[in-house]
């Protein structure tokens, strides 16, 4: 069934982007933009793929991928928070570094094969028409991607840690008055954000592509940054953005598989064009919701 397949694909292909959006939400709510998510995703993807290919164990791959993403993001945290580097430039340079590093180190893995994460079908539920396959016949990481936004909403709104994180993004001086170091809170947030991006990269190679190619993420990290704006820095809305990206990708692949006579190059544009479109429609409205600490870097222009 066409719609069922498109929806299942939307969830599966959107999952890596959802992880990256959640990581970016954490980072930006604490007041730091990280354009290095693309690099974290790439490093996570290569570390996960290399580990899974060397050990034959996908779980070890996930751990390595998450760690690699966190490591790269911690470099961004150090440069921005302790060395006063420009956030946008540092993030982009980190992404280029990740792109170059993974291209060079990944050469030997290009033709390697791995056993990825298999789909875990939940009986009965996966037979529900239209949405069953999408929500209940996925790999383990995709299930995590589907619940993570709700966990994050709870953490941000109901826990002390979430309160400190949000306060750091809005009023760091208040956080300092309460005896916490805003810089450390931000560093932790950026690193966790990178870990989640690395997890997203892991899902991408372990459950979707199942092979390694240079620049395998094709801008998914940058798309995630855009979707966080679209989602007004709210976890569930940002995750929905990830699903929209996944849906565009899925629709494109389904149309291609069904031999629809449109250039594949034009079809491949749809996820990016759609991301730009949702951003165009929502940017003005969302600019009211931008975390106070981000305004200086991101919302500086009045137009």
């Amino acid at each position: 069934m066409f719609i069922e397949d498109v929806f299942a694909g939307a969830v599966r292909y959107g999952s890596s982007v959802i992880f990256a959006t959640q990581g970016e939400v954490i980072s930006e709510r604490a007041g730091v933009i990280n354009l290095g998510v693309e690099g974290s995703m790439l490093c996570g993807a290569l570390a996960a793929f290399a580990t899974a290919s060397a050990t034959g164990n996908a779980v070890l791959g996930i751990i390595a991928g998450t760690a690699a993403g966190a490591l790269l993001a911690s470099l961004h945290a150090f440069l921005v928070l302790w060395r006063g580097a420009n956030q946008l430039a540092s993030g982009l340079a980190i992404s280029f570094l990740g792109l170059g590093l993974t291209a060079a180190l990944g050469v030997n893995f290009v033709s390697k094969q791995i056993t990825g994460l298999g789909a875990i079908e939940i009986p009965v539920l996966s037979d529900i028409p239209i949405i069953g396959k999408g929500l209940f016949a996925q790999d383990a990481l995709t299930y995590l991607a589907l619940v993570l936004p709700f966990i994050l909403v709870f953490v941000l709104s109901r826990t002390k840690w979430g309160l400190i994180l949000r306060a750091t993004g809005e009023r760091p001086e208040v956080v300092r008055a309460y005896g916490y170091d805003p810089r450390r809170v931000r560093a932790v947030a950026v690193t966790i954000g990178g870990a989640l991006a690395g997890l997203g990269g892991s899902q991408l190679v372990l459950a979707y592509t199942l092979n390694w190619v240079e620049n395998v993420t094709l801008g998914r990290g940058f798309v995630a940054v855009a979707l966080v704006i679209f989602g007004a820095w709210k976890p569930v809305q940002a995750a929905l953005g990830g699903l929209v990206f996944g849906a565009a990708l899925s629709l494109q692949l389904q149309l291609q598989a069904r031999g629809v006579d449109v250039s594949i190059w034009l079809l491949q544009m749809t996820p990016y064009v759609l991301t730009l479109l949702v951003l165009t429609v929502t940017s003005r409205r969302q600019s009211q919701q931008i975390p106070e600490g981000l305004k200086a870097v991101f919302g500086g222009s009045p137009s």
């Binding site: 420009n86 050469v107 544009m269």
Partner: protein, 332 residues
């Protein structure tokens, strides 16, 4: 001003120039040092100069918007779309077109396409409030796919069986050579001086800097901030697009998939290294071009992909950002 080209290293005019244009002295010394050292590393100077041409223009494409406080990461897309525009306009060149006319027409193709592509980001920002960093980044992927579509479809060379390449340009549309380098290198250098003049010595440059320094105050002071944003991005995109056109008319001779991959990003790194000052951009570009050209042969020897050059260049920028950040932070 043209005498500041590294081709004229004689001592007497150098001293005079140092007095007149003190800001150019440091970069000039760097360029001379780099260009005299690299032959000993087995890196060809003409190759570095030829590589500097597109990088200089894509770096300026970052520097002009940066003066108005904009982050243009779309050099990659503006470059390839400029190359695409050049290929489109090249179809208008006939047997009877004089060579200079053909070259100018094709260059205009690059300027128009590159400019409009950046203009799209400007429009999205001014009309819908879309952050230009994000839109220019995402449009890179769209531009690359447009070129992939063009070279497999409408602009495909009918003679080239299954290769995704455009038709070769006629000889009359290829850039003339001066010694071992093509004329585009001179054009890029002259445009650098022009941009330096525009940013530092004109009313527009002053307004742009005011808008970039404090947009709210600029708006209150009656500056046309939206127009400045659109203008700066259009101009930047036009330069990156011209770089694409020059690459098509110069070393490559045709549009192809993967043309100039990374030139936009390397230009971005160069402009940030130079803190968007045209003089230092020349030095940063020559350095990055040397790394890039030197990396080419290393990559072939070691079997590394071309993107590996980002490791070195991005690391250099990260070190500089971290080192400079605290220093400028202390002034606050």
């Amino acid at each position: 001003m043209t005498a500041t080209t590294p081709a004229a290293p004689s001592a007497a005019p150098l001293v005079q120039l140092a007095k007149k244009h003190a800001g150019w002295f440091g970069p000039l010394v760097c360029v001379v040092v780099i260009l005299s050292v690299i032959p000993f590393l087995g890196i060809s100077v003409p190759d570095v100069l030829i590589r500097s041409c597109p990088l200089l223009l894509t770096a300026l494409a970052v520097a002009i918007p940066a003066r108005t406080g904009l982050v243009n990461v779309g050099g990659e897309g503006q470059f390839v779309l400029g190359a695409c525009g050049a290929a489109v306009f090249a179809t208008a060149v006939s047997e009877s077109t004089p060579s200079p006319v053909a070259i100018v027409v094709i260059a205009i193709g690059g300027i128009v396409f590159g400019g409009l592509w950046a203009g799209l980001s400007a429009l999205l920002k001014v009309v819908a409030g879309v952050n230009e960093t994000i839109s220019t980044l995402l449009l890179n992927y769209v531009a690359t796919l447009i070129v992939a579509y063009a070279v497999t479809g409408p602009l495909k060379d009918p003679e080239a069986a299954n290769f995704p390449i455009g038709s070769p340009l006629p000889d009359r549309a290829r850039l003339p050579m001066i010694g071992d380098v093509h004329i585009g290198v001179i054009v890029a250098l002259l445009l650098t001086f022009a941009v330096a003049w525009l940013l530092n010595s004109t009313r527009w440059g002053f307004k742009a800097r005011a808008a970039g320094g404090n947009p709210i105050a600029a708006l209150r002071g009656g500056l046309p901030v939206a127009a400045l944003i659109v203008g700066a991005l259009l101009l930047g995109g036009a330069l990156a697009g011209l770089a694409g056109a020059l690459e098509v008319m110069g070393p490559d001779g045709r549009l192809r998939q993967g043309l100039g991959v990374g030139f936009g990003f390397l230009g971005f790194l160069a402009s940030w290294l130079a803190m968007h000052r045209p003089g230092w951009i020349v030095a940063a570009v020559v350095l990055i071009a040397s790394i890039s050209v030197g990396g080419d042969s290393l990559q072939i020897d070691l079997g590394l992909p071309a993107t590996s050059v980002y490791v070195v260049t991005a690391t250099v920028l990260l070190v500089v950002l971290g080192w400079r950040g605290t220093r400028s932070g202390e002034h606050h």
